[in-house]
């Protein structure tokens, strides 16, 4: 009796575990380090919700933001560390929606080129996380720039590049130890020149922009069929009440179609590399044709030409402040792009990096975009511009309920800057991830060094 009970419960446990594993393989093993409560006082706080608080206080404990207010609170206890941030600014941890750290790691050698599976134009089956090298020195540089979360994407050589992964910017020996708990997956797709060039040169489709469109649409049609096959199978299984069900054959699991189906079901967020305004409009029509949403257009150099359309469709534009001219589809880049995408009601502008250098200076890039917007007549205070590198990327990545703003209950991902972050002279003094101080500019003990960098150039006086 007892044994039967035990066996049944074990079976149940096994079934649950197996189901969970199937639902979420390669699970996050990230656990915030233990840290005591921290009270930051006298700070100029940009909350990421569009608000600026002068002389504000922020209480962090148990890895979460406990409260934030516009008064100095006196809560001195033995356990509480109080940081006087007089003259300094506090923002949410920065978030980069477009990074290739780990998949194109430094040094940039062939052995580290793991970001573009350019052997077939549609590779929804590949997952960027399986290429991430956690020892990329770029992670620690980004941390020093205040970046606490980042989305690692496959490259743009393919129409469908594969799954992206959202990481916490925490040093770890495995990528699973960085994986942002319960963040949704993304799918990287690409418009325009790259896929048609890569495959056109190989003499296979696509070699044109119309070929690109035919390529995506064929994928979605297959994904629709895949969903249908599984739905049919499930309903046939359900039909069997009492009767035999020998006709219900389990469809073969297909990694590529599983990811695409995830998009059509709204579980996986589409992040699409797309420069030209006309192409973005065509992609939005395609999304309507197959019933999915584009979360953000990346690079979006011509987004300013269709800013109203993007705002109406609730699609974010993830952009550089001033990159242009490196290829034909980047020829019309202007420095007001970000501000113009931000301007319409509901507009969602994001400053992204796509660069191991740029990710260290998202604040400077936002500052340039803010400046250009102001000169063009738009009123953009710092409390608004900070959203381009915090709340808006979080929104497009599906993690805004957990991070991206300084609000009670959210993850304590926090940066203390040495002054106004919208300056070339600004530096992150301290960076907290889930309430733990992972970077301190003035304390070498709190500055991570990757395995790769350890012990290089011995004998050189630093």
């Amino acid at each position: 009796m007892d044994f039967t009970k035990f066996a049944l419960s074990m079976l149940t446990l096994w079934l649950i575990t197996a189901t969970l594993l199937h639902a979420s393989p390669y699970p996050s093993t990230y656990r915030p380090l233990a840290s005591g409560p921290v009270l930051i006082v006298n700070a100029t706080i940009l909350t990421g919700t569009g608000t600026r608080i002068e002389n504000g206080s922020l209480l962090i404990s148990n890895g979460r933001i406990q409260h934030i207010q516009d008064a100095v609170v006196d809560m001195a206890t033995d356990q509480l560390e109080v940081i006087d941030a007089e003259g300094r600014w506090v923002t949410p941890g920065l978030i980069d929606v477009h990074s290739h750290l780990g998949v194109y790691a430094s040094p940039n050698i062939d052995a580290h080129a793991d970001g573009n599976e350019m052997t077939s134009p549609a590779t929804a089956q590949v997952w960027a996380e399986h290429s991430v090298w956690p020892q990329d020195p770029g992670f620690s540089r980004a941390l020093a720039g205040g970046v606490t979360s980042l989305q690692i994407l496959p490259g743009s050589g393919n129409l469908v590049g594969g799954r992206g992964v959202t990481l916490k910017n925490v040093p770890s020996t495995t990528y699973q130890g960085m994986k942002f708990p319960s963040a949704p997956y993304s799918l990287k797709m690409a418009c325009g020149e790259n896929p048609k060039r890569v495959y056109g040169e190989k003499g296979v489709a696509p070699s044109t922009r119309m070929g690109n469109m035919a390529g995506y649409r064929a994928q979605w049609i297959e994904a629709q069929k895949y969903i249908q096959d599984w739905d049919d199978y499930e309903s046939q299984k359900a039909d069997k009440k009492g009767g035999k069900n020998e006709t219900a054959t389990t469809p073969v699991r297909d990694l590529r179609l599983e990811t695409l189906a995830g998009v059509l079901k709204g579980e996986i967020l589409v992040h699409m590399h797309c420069y030209r305004a006309d192409e973005m409009a065509t992609i939005l029509d395609m999304a309507d044709e197959f019933g999915y949403r584009v979360s953000a257009f990346h690079h979006a150099v011509e987004a300013y030409k269709i800013n109203g359309m993007l705002a109406e469709k609730k699609v974010c534009g993830a952009m550089w402040a001033d990159w242009w001219g490196f290829k034909a589809e980047a020829y019309d880049g202007i420095q007001e792009n970000i501000a113009m995408v931000d301007r319409p009601e509901g507009g969602c502008a994001i400053v992204h990096s796509d660069s191991s250098e740029g990710i260290q200076r998202l604040n400077q890039e936002a500052a340039k975009a803010m400046t250009r917007g102001r000169l063009a007549g738009m009123d953009i205070p710092p409390e608004r511009a900070i959203q381009w590198i915090t709340a808006n990327p979080a929104r497009s990545m599906g993690i805004l309920d957990q991070t991206g703003t300084l609000e009670a209950g959210k993850m304590a991902d926090v940066v203390i800057w040495n002054g106004n972050p919208f300056s070339v002279y600004a530096k992150a003094d301290q960076v907290f991830v889930d309430g733990t101080l992972l970077y301190d500019r003035n304390d070498p003990v709190r500055q991570p060094v990757s395995d790769f960098e350890l012990g290089q150039q011995l004998g050189v006086e630093q």
């Binding site: 050698i109 001033d322 242009w324 001219g325 490196f326 260290q360 803010m370």
Partner: protein, 423 residues
Amino acid sequence: MNCRTCKFRIAPGGLVLLLGLFANANSQAETLFINDATVYSMSSMAALQDGDILIRDGRIESLATGLTPPEDARIIEAKGRPVTPGFFAGITELGLVEISAVESSVDGGLSTDQLRPEFDVTTAYNPLSSAIPVTRIEGYTWSMLGASRSGSIIGGQGQAVSLDGDFQSFAGKRVLFIDVGADASGQSGNSRAAQWMLLERAMTESASEVAWSPDPLLTVAGRTALEGFKTEGIVVFNADRASDILQVIDFSSRHGLNAVISGGTEAWMIADQLAEAGVPVLIDALSNLPGSFDELGARLDNAAILNAAGVTISFYGMDTHQARRLRQVAGNAVANGLPYEAGLAAMTVNPAVMFELDGEYGSLAPGHAADMVIWSGDPLEVTSVAEQVIIDGKIVPMVSRQTLLRDRYLPKDSDMPRAYIKP
């Protein structure tokens, strides 16, 4: 005679002079008076408060406090804002490239593995490239045209160019570009040792009157061109690893070359040797990652360390379209320990000195070309912009293809398609 033609002191022949006159014929410099500026003249390190600048016939006539504007002068009220010499845009391919990935629009390099020091990119220069106004209106008035994309370790020759948009605006000495280190190993039998072997042989060949061997590295023109750099001209060596930079110092000293280092990621390690040899360095001050095994020592205070050791520094590293980011690079160097005035010098007078153009470019003083910028605020700050650029005493229209695109799309509504908005 217009000022810009005076810059042709090195360029040979009357044709060039003629072109210069033609290009300048349609624009007459007026007399300008800049009132009440904070002047960073760079001819002295201290900023001049309440400075006035009188500009006549394209040149600075006087620069002091309390000047009285002449009656015919157009007065520009600076209201205390900073004025600097026109900024140096770095080593670029401005006028040699329209779109980087469009091969037919790129002329900055020669696709051959032969050593062709006679290859001269200035003959491909197009002053009407859209990238020139884009760069110019951000406060940059001159650049070093580089020949650094070639298939061989000797990239070819370039020269300093004014971004005034004229057809012939070159100035100063010829500059030869040589690439050593890991990036160039593929061009030299996959060993950087072979780079020095080939360069040594090229130097020997260049000294010879006749073909040196049945299988020469250099053409006749190449021998002449390379030989010229032993007595005149400047050689820019792109090198990052400390050991490679030391090789450059040694090689240049043996052959009497006037060397400049570009790249210089690990230059800080040998700052004293560079200072002693008088070799200037153009660095990418944002470089703090081991992009290759030549750059393991990358660090953000490279500029600060070199400057403190007495090395003449400037900046380098942006691609051509992003040349306008160079002042942000300088700002970051200042944020990482470089004194502010040294940061400004690295954008102005230092490159003028290293390319032997001081007195013409890079500083403001009576008699110098009137190339300058009025800034909205701190010129190294990302929230400041160039408000007015002046080249050769002429007010530069602050217009580029990008500002026109902006002005076309900035209005929220338009009755007619945007194609009818022609700002």
